[in-house]
Amino acid sequence: MQMSPTEYIQHHLTNLQLNLHTGSVGPTSGFWVLNLDTLITSFLIGVLFLGLFYLAARKAVSTQPGKLQNFVEYSIEMVNGMTKEVFHGENSVIAPMAMTVFFWVFFMNLVDLLPVDLIPRLLGFFGIHHYRAVPTADLSLPVGLALTVFIMIIYYNFKIKGPKNLLIEILSKPFGWYLMPVNIFFRLVEEIAKPLSLSLRLFGNLFAGELIFVLIAGLIPFWLQWIPGGIWAIFHILIITIQAFIFMMLTIVYLSMAHESH
């Protein structure tokens, strides 16, 4: 079972993949490959947290509320307040979407605080030899989230502003009618930069965090591991909260920019 450090690191960076051409489960390469570990973990976490919040809503009482109901009400109030500050229109999709994004991303990031070897070692007893437990540290998931937000941005641009007004806005802001190519170029850059930066920011922070944990586990003798591991874990708690919060804030801001042009 003794792996060299490089093998250990590479083992922890390999996903459990399903090759759709050959049907084989295990590390493969190619385009038609599903990362099963990302899909399973993210689905489980989503079902768990949505189920929890739904339970809180079902059992809601207006006399002494319990702790769960208190927490859910507080978080709804917080997200609602934030949405009202940024977005001054009428859309009942934005605030629930923001809350879902925040809590889902936060709980998926939270898996990174478990010990690096815990879940892969447990699953190794069942015969699964490669498993990356943090869904947001796989490039697929943050890009999926950002692409969904991007599609919503385009949809709301067309739906709220109408194609004619949208065309006028693209061609004439921010420099006026005579600099039309410059306006189009800037608009393209801005629209492409939104999903790109959104996805890569979340992916980069979480992948770097996971990688540093793996490096600490692989390269430092076990009796020294608690010092850098502890410090990095404390810093990482801050990072995952901030990244989930920023994803939520930017979702709200981008969707409100799609509703009204500043």
Binding site: R201, N205, I242
Partner: protein, 106 residues
């Protein structure tokens, strides 16, 4: 021999490229964090009762600044360690060429 020299040169340049990719965004981010922290402290000095609100917004801005430093870090690590790109993909190729050339020597 020419191929070997070219590939070894490429190998060395990848190290330098990955190091630049990791460090230059981090320099920008460090300067940005310094400015951000300085303005935050100035804001507290002017109006201490706004400390909580300013701190929340400061962490928001810090998360936005973090983005490009960490993107550079991730791509640098990818270049250095991931088996699909650049360096680790190049290593077996280099070893193979070295063997072929060593075996072909009279």
């Amino acid at each position: 021999m020419d191929i070997l020299h070219t590939l070894v040169g490429l190998y060395g340049n990848i190290f330098i490229a990955a190091a630049l990719l990791i460090s230059i965004p981090a320099m920008g981010t460090a300067i940005g964090f310094g400015l951000l922290g300085g303005k935050f402290l100035e804001g507290i000095a002017r109006q201490p009762e706004l400390k909580a609100m300013l701190m929340g917004n400061m962490f928001l801005m810090a998360g936005l600044l973090d983005a490009f430093a960490v993107i550079g870090l991730v791509f640098g690590f990818l270049m250095l360690f991931s088996p699909a790109v650049f360096m680790p993909a190049l290593t077996p190729a280099l070893a193979k060429i070295h063997h072929i050339l060593a075996a072909a020597q009279p």
